[in-house]
Point group: C2
Chain length 198, copies 2
């Protein structure tokens, strides 16, 4: 027993037991679904949706705020991965269209998540994670302006905001039943083409 300190925690210093990890995943999945669908979600709801005891949830996420952060962190990672996967070569106008068609629902989901999580995390924290994503879009728009494909008579930040805004609007229209999920990307692309062209 001289070297009996080879406990599990010593052997897997940064690891978790498989069932714990499974529960963490379930919690994050359910949390994302709930938080991105409506405001005012409670910790208890997330736990129930995940099929997990409330105490278990608190065991992994010490507070509501920590849970919220984990959800946002995960969403940002997903977005970054999506950007890596998309082809941004060629004319900026075409690249933007590809990005929209592939990611508009992701943009929308994360925007809702962000809206419904405000108040749980500090604005600074939120900004620090969100800015890198904005920069990617910004760079693409600037490229389009250099190519002469995008207008330059309106502020750059406005073009970005308008883009997000219309993505959000498209999602609302689907929810309201005025637009089908198939029509949405076409409508969005057509609208943004009109809006972005010089």
């Amino acid at each position: 027993m001289a070297d009996g300190k080879t406990t599990a925690s010593a052997r897997r210093p940064s690891g978790r037991r498989a069932d714990a990890q499974r529960n963490i995943d379930k919690i994050l999945d359910s949390g994302l679904k709930l938080y991105s669908s409506r405001p005012g979600v409670s910790v208890a709801e997330v736990a129930e949706a995940a099929g997990v005891g409330r105490v278990t949830l608190y065991g992994h996420f010490p507070s509501r705020t920590e849970l919220a952060k984990a959800l946002m962190e995960r969403a940002f990672e997903e977005t970054n991965a999506a950007w890596e996967a998309v082809d941004t070569d060629g004319p900026a106008e075409d690249a933007l269209e590809r990005i929209l068609r592939q990611q508009w629902y992701l943009m929308e989901r994360n925007r809702n998540l962000r809206d419904n999580i405000i108040g749980d995390v500090s604005p600074q924290w939120l900004r620090s994670r969100h800015d890198p994503i904005l920069e990617r879009i910004e760079a693409l728009i600037i490229r389009g302006q250099d190519e002469g494909a995008f207008r330059t008579d309106l502020p750059l930040s406005w073009l970005i905001t308008a883009l997000y805004s219309l993505v959000h609007a498209a999602a609302d229209e689907i929810t309201a039943g005025h637009l089908t999920p198939e029509q949405a990307p076409d409508t969005l692309v057509a609208s943004l083409r009109s809006l972005y062209r010089p």
Copy 2:
């Protein structure tokens, strides 16, 4: 004393005392300001902002829901009055521009009010009050389409939603400090012209 029943309430059956009416106004004013600025406003906050006791507030508005309804009702009336005041003659494109320049801040404020009040009143109630306003915009857009000034390749409801969406975006940009209140209407009008033209 045969006719001694000439009490105040009998004499002013539908009227209120002047100080009561004054307080009601203060409550609605403060409530509008708070509700349209952020979510999660409590009744206590509204009372305090109005400089009125919480009990007094409950005396006039039996519940949080009733207060919310009164706020929305008032906002709708204001919007209707604004529509009556605006000149909708001439080409639809110009009329829309005039409306935007005169009412965009009102549209924005009421949209926030609506967003932050969801959950306090039923969706049906909200719809029933909001629809008449949408119809006015709808009629104007259809007129523009008949004149050949507005595009017809996108759903009508989408054009309306996009309009509201961009108004909201413009307000966000002002809040974020990316747009001045003077620039906002021009940016908005320019964007919607691009978006609406065939």
